[in-house]
Subunit: 279 residues, 2 copies
């Protein structure tokens, strides 16, 4: 049996990010033009699958929910994926949340407290722009937590994610892989274009100076938290068209895997037709 796209993109065990080509087009046979055609077909497929998911949520006939979790360095394309891949489905079925620096209230609680609150409801496709992983990424690089606390967090994340998937959740974790050169080019493009200045922050360069530390923190997080119930996918993101296609295709594949039926009527159809005819 052919490997699924998810299997193609899953990483497990020790990983060296430098060995992965950011411009690979794993699982896609074609170029940018072909991807546009493929996206049109994917849009139809995703639209129907998402509506089935939503219908079951509304009808309370299932507890299925999907969470697309996006992590990656600045400019890797988290926002681009939300616009071009998640944007293919009915926005009523989406629940998008962008995690920023924790607030004082959030810092008073365990790091997963704020994550729990943003999990998608049954029938919804949640999208996390950053996530619980910031607490083992920036927290490690910037030493915002003690080593023992960092250690505790990997296991806590795995247990948390297991609880989510055990209760009807499908978790799709995507690491958007770019190289330092890819990022340099994209930051330069932002600086060159006044309509993109709002996306730029001088702090981006401070983070960029810690590139190697971040890559190492990602390698550890991907190794420690790629589990059977919630594997990590490495999405080569040097080519934007491939990145968007890959995440849209992965989402469609996972939705199809739920084999969702349309909810059956919880009323008598003939009776209702007669009632309607009488009005």
């Amino acid at each position: 049996m052919a490997k699924s796209l998810s299997e193609h993109l899953t990483v497990s065990g020790p990983i060296k990010l430098a060995d992965h080509d950011s411009r690979a087009t794993t699982g896609f046979d074609g170029d940018k033009d072909d991807s546009a055609k493929s996206m049109t077909l994917l849009a139809e497929d995703l639209s129907e699958q998402q509506e089935r998911l939503f219908a079951n949520g509304q009808a309370e006939t299932g507890s299925s929910r999907v969470l697309l979790l996006l992590q990656g360095m600045d400019t890797s394309g988290k926002g681009g994926i939300i616009r071009h891949a998640a944007g293919l489905v009915d926005p009523q079925g989406l629940s998008i949340y962008s995690f920023k620096k924790p607030t004082p209230e959030e810092l008073e609680q365990d790091f997963l407290w704020r994550i729990e609150q943003r999990l998608p409801a049954p029938g919804k496709i949640g999208v996390f722009d950053r996530s619980q992983y910031e607490d083992v990424l920036i927290a490690r690089v910037r030493q915002l937590a003690e080593p023992a606390e960092l250690e505790r967090r990997y296991d806590a994340i795995n247990a948390f994610e297991k609880r989510f998937t055990d209760s009807g959740g499908v978790l799709i974790k995507c690491f958007l892989h770019i190289t330092s050169d890819d990022q340099k080019e994209r930051l330069a493009a932002r600086l060159d274009d006044p309509t993109k200045h709002w996306k730029y922050n001088p702090g981006d360069i401070d983070e960029r100076m810690l590139w190697d530390d971040y890559q190492r923190a990602y390698e550890i997080a991907l190794e420690r938290c790629s589990t059977e119930w919630a594997p990590w996918h490495l999405i080569p993101s040097g080519r934007k068209w491939y990145r968007n296609w890959a995440v849209a295709a992965l989402l469609a594949e996972k939705l199809r895997g739920l084999n969702l039926e349309w909810p059956a009527a919880d009323f008598d159809v003939a009776t209702e037709k007669a009632r309607l005819a009488g009005t």
Copy 2:
């Protein structure tokens, strides 16, 4: 000067809904095929305008926000508009909320308490699927409030909406106008199609039996609450393609009216280019 689409669709003063053709195509010169082409152009326009709005929200350079408020009888197309008109923009810039029957907690507060909490933040396009108007519509038809309380609500809504528009909000109120026959046809289509059964609720017929009372309640609400700062638009919704086009075009028109500039850089571009080059 030619009238804007908003002016074409605005209703004010006493109104008889029966005098309005649900299949009108006010302000649009063409048929369904032409509307598809127009939607493609509108999508580009909306996408850019929405990004400017979002950019100003992110950069904290403006307090502009937009709220698209949708009201109409069952099957009038609130969901269809969210999918086909609001769905044209980046979902990250949307904040969609569907108001249901108030919870016990909500009922303990003034009726506008729950509405206030769902207003869009600066930079966002909020979409209300039902709204504060339920409290003068179903509340009037089903006598859920005393006459004096209903009277109080129209003025309270006007004051509330003025506060929203005075603080940088643009409120686009759309009443999706269909006839009783339009609804009958659409409910029958839902009953005929097993993939649509989940959208049907026997309670829909109970509400339908009160059609005339609802029309009257709408007429009063539109008359009392079509103000200079937040006029009511009557969207002929007998033709789905026109309804979707009209709301998308209205949204684009209102966004363009904000004359939004891209936020200026709050950093020195040359300095940042040099910093980036040094990495």
